[in-house]
Amino acid sequence: MTQELNPIPWGAQDRFQAHFIVKTTRDTSDENILSRTKLETKGHFGSKRVSGVQWIGGTLAEALNSDTELKNMITRLSYDDAQMTIEPTKGAVRIYGKWKDSYNFTITKELFAVYDRIASHIKRELGSPPVQS
C-alpha cells in the first residue's frame, strides 16, 4: 500500500480567519447589510465545484445578485473560498470566509479581487464613493 504523497492536514489544529473590513462612520442597519452566499455545486468531495451563487440577505444582497461579473468571479473560486459572509459590526462591515488551518490560510489574487468588488458594493450602499482598482 503506497503512502499518500500530499496528505491533507487533519485533526485538532489552529484555525484562522481573515476579516476584510470596510470602515463606516454611519450606523448600519443589520438587515440591509447582512448577507451570505448560497452556492449551487456540482460533484462531490474533492471534486466539488461551484456552478452558481446566490446572495441571501437584505438590500446589499440584491445589489450583489445583480452583479453578473461578481457571480462569475465567485464561481471560479474553490468551494471553500466561495462561502462568504458579510456582517456589519460597530463602525465596520466585515467580509469573511471559512475558518482555515495554517496550511490553507492564504490569499490569492482572484479571492482578493472578489472581496474588493464586494467592498465597492458596500461602499455604494453606505453612500461612500468606491475606489476604482
Binding site: 476579516h19 470602515k23 465596520a92 474588493d116 482598482s133
Partner: protein, 108 residues
C-alpha cells in the same frame, strides 16, 4: 580484607562498562546540523501581510492593539454559530483598495 571492601566480579564489570560509556559520550560527534539555532518569530498578521504584498496589494501590518476596531466585537451575534472565544492577531491596513483593513483572528 573484610567482605564489604571486596568488589565482586559483577561490580568490576559494571565499573569498567560505565567507564567506557563515560569515555564514549565524550566522543560523540557534534549533533547540530547546519541550520541556525536562532529562529525569527513572525506574527500571524505579518505573515498574512507578506502574502498580500506578494499578490501586489499595498499592505502594512500594524502593531498589536493600536486600532479601535480591535477593541470592538468581531461579530454582530446575528448568527448562532459565531464563535464566543476568539483571539485577535492584529490588523493590516491596505492602500488603494475598497477594503480599509484586514484583521486576523484565531478560534479559541
Amino acid at each position: 580484607m573484610c567482605d564489604d571492601m571486596k568488589f565482586s566480579t559483577e561490580d568490576k564489570l559494571a565499573k569498567s562498562f560505565y567507564r567506557h560509556i563515560y569515555l564514549w559520550v565524550g566522543q560523540i560527534p557534534n549533533m547540530h546540523d547546519s541550520e541556525s539555532d536562532t529562529i525569527h518569530l513572525v506574527n500571524k498578521h505579518e505573515e498574512y501581510c507578506e502574502l498580500l504584498k506578494k499578490i501586489g496589494i499595498a499592505a502594512e501590518a500594524q502593531p498589536l492593539d493600536t486600532e479601535e476596531i480591535e477593541k470592538e466585537n468581531f461579530y454582530s451575534k446575528n448568527f448562532s454559530n459565531s464563535p464566543a472565544m476568539v483571539t485577535n492577531h492584529g490588523i493590516i491596513t491596505l492602500k488603494g483598495s475598497n477594503i480599509d483593513e484586514v484583521q486576523i483572528i484565531q478560534r479559541g
